[in-house]
């Protein structure tokens, strides 16, 4: 079953991507087109920005969930991260549209308090895409980092501090090195998931933030050019594969797998 619906489609896709009209030259033709390069750059760079922001913010949240002694704080943090997680991805984007629109909630509010004089362009650009993606991927970074932090003995930090290290120094020299593999692993996972995002760039991005995903969709459904879509998909797949490969070299397969669980 997995063979039929995972391996076969991908093999077919590779065949089609490297098939007519130009065989292997399809790929080089792809890279010769500057619009394709822009799309690739935007996709890989935006996903990277998103991954870094998600993991950085996720780490702080996960750390606080881990160390706080007040149950209320922990419950509030967990709820605020995970209730939106299950809201439905299309609906989240809907919420962002309502908030960010030209006459949306945020612009209205800012106009009403006279902070701005004309509405800000908050939507249909890179900013909106990154914001929307972070919103959706944050839970994916909080969960694994929480698991990582919990496996670290909190007494180690206390020991460092009682030996005279400042809290900052304790975090930098004890906590960070211990959790570094976890950090790298969850950044990788968030990055790879982000590369595959389709709806967010389509609904929040608009023309100024072209993502590989929306290009492929247009290739298939507007230009009926499946080969082109297959080539882009192949490039994306290879990119993601490379990232995973490099990451598994650095932090080990087990670590990557643990992050998923």
């Amino acid at each position: 079953m997995i063979g039929l619906f995972l391996i076969y489609p991908i093999i077919r896709m590779v065949q089609l991507a490297l098939g007519p009209p130009n065989g292997m030259r399809n790929i080089s033709a792809y890279f010769e087109q500057s619009s394709n390069l822009t799309v690739l750059r935007v996709t890989f760079v935006d996903a990277a920005i998103v991954a870094v922001i998600s993991v950085a913010l996720g780490a702080v949240i996960a750390w606080y969930i881990c160390i706080t002694e007040r149950r209320f704080v922990r419950a509030a943090l967990v709820a605020s991260i995970f209730i939106p997680f299950w809201m439905g991805s299309v609906v989240k984007l809907y919420a962002f549209t309502v908030l960010l629109e030209r006459l949306g909630v945020i612009n209205r509010f800012l106009l009403d308090v006279h902070l701005i004089h004309s509405p800000l362009d908050l939507i249909y650009n890179q900013f909106a895409v990154v914001l929307g993606m972070v919103y959706q991927l944050l839970p994916y970074s909080v969960l694994p980092l929480f698991v990582v932090f919990r496996s670290i003995d909190p007494d180690l930090l206390k020991a460092a501090q009682s030996l005279g290290a400042s809290r900052f120094r304790a975090i930098r020299t004890v906590l960070l090195p211990l959790s570094l593999p976890g950090f790298l692993a969850s950044t990788t996972i968030v990055y790879v998931i982000g590369l595959g995002f389709f709806l967010t760039p389509v609904l929040l991005g608009g023309a100024t933030s072209p993502f590989a995903a929306s290009f492929m969709y247009d290739d298939i459904f507007s230009y009926y050019d499946f080969t082109d879509a297959a080539v882009s998909a192949l490039v994306l797949l290879i990119g993601a594969g490379l990232v995973l490969f490099i990451a598994s070299r650095f932090v080990g397969k087990e670590q990557l797998r643990r992050v998923l669980g």
Binding site: I81, V91, K92, F168, R169, I193, A233, L260
Partner: protein, 267 residues
Amino acid sequence: MTGTKTADRVLNMTGTTVCILVSLFMLIPALTVLVLSFAGGSQLVFPPTSWGFQQYHTVFSNGIWLPAIWQSLKVGMPVTLIALVVGVPAAISIQRSRIWKVGLLRSLGLAPLLVPAVAYAVALYGAESELKLIGTYWGVVFADTMLVIPFVVLVVEAALTRIPRDLELVAMTLGASRPRAMIGITVRLLVPAIIASFLLCFVSNFDESVFINFLSGPGLITLPKAVFNSLRTGLDPSITAVASMLMLLSTVIVAVAFTLRNTKTVS
């Protein structure tokens, strides 16, 4: 000393601020939707000028949402069941057998999670159009199944590590046949994990919005697809009501799933 203390205080304050800001960032969109769902009128205005249950009423009375919800359920059921039928034995063999293929099988089981969704959707589109499955019910079901199998494998495998293998051996020395020991002991102890993965699959499939756009054609409209369509054509306020109900329902289901997942399988 005072230097480090100031630094620590700054650190603490930054941490707290980040926490508060992130929580707000996560909650504001959700709350906006929730608040708007109780607004009256057919225009989307914030803050709402009137209040009421009109949006909820629209959801149940106009002909878009109910069929879409029904379609989602019709896709979700077989998807989850097939995923369990494939995933549970896969997880058991990954965990319990010592053959060389285990690593390969495990990677295969998890692969759909790691292949970028769009690239996978394009590949599936190619394969399914050859097999004439585009726009068909089973085409969508099979594609969605692939996407949720990893959840089953992950959850069941994790639960299996907590069930001692010896229990099965004990049953066998007491005279049970191998299949009987397997089903009577291991599978029975797995029941909470299986229910948990069932719920997780179901909820995440209910939200599947990438494949459906590539594979469903015009005729097959699930809930996410319906929301997507209405988003593209303009902002329909009754989405807020659908979303609020979805949020509530998924939160409850997921809470149940996680409780089951964490149930001690062996006392």
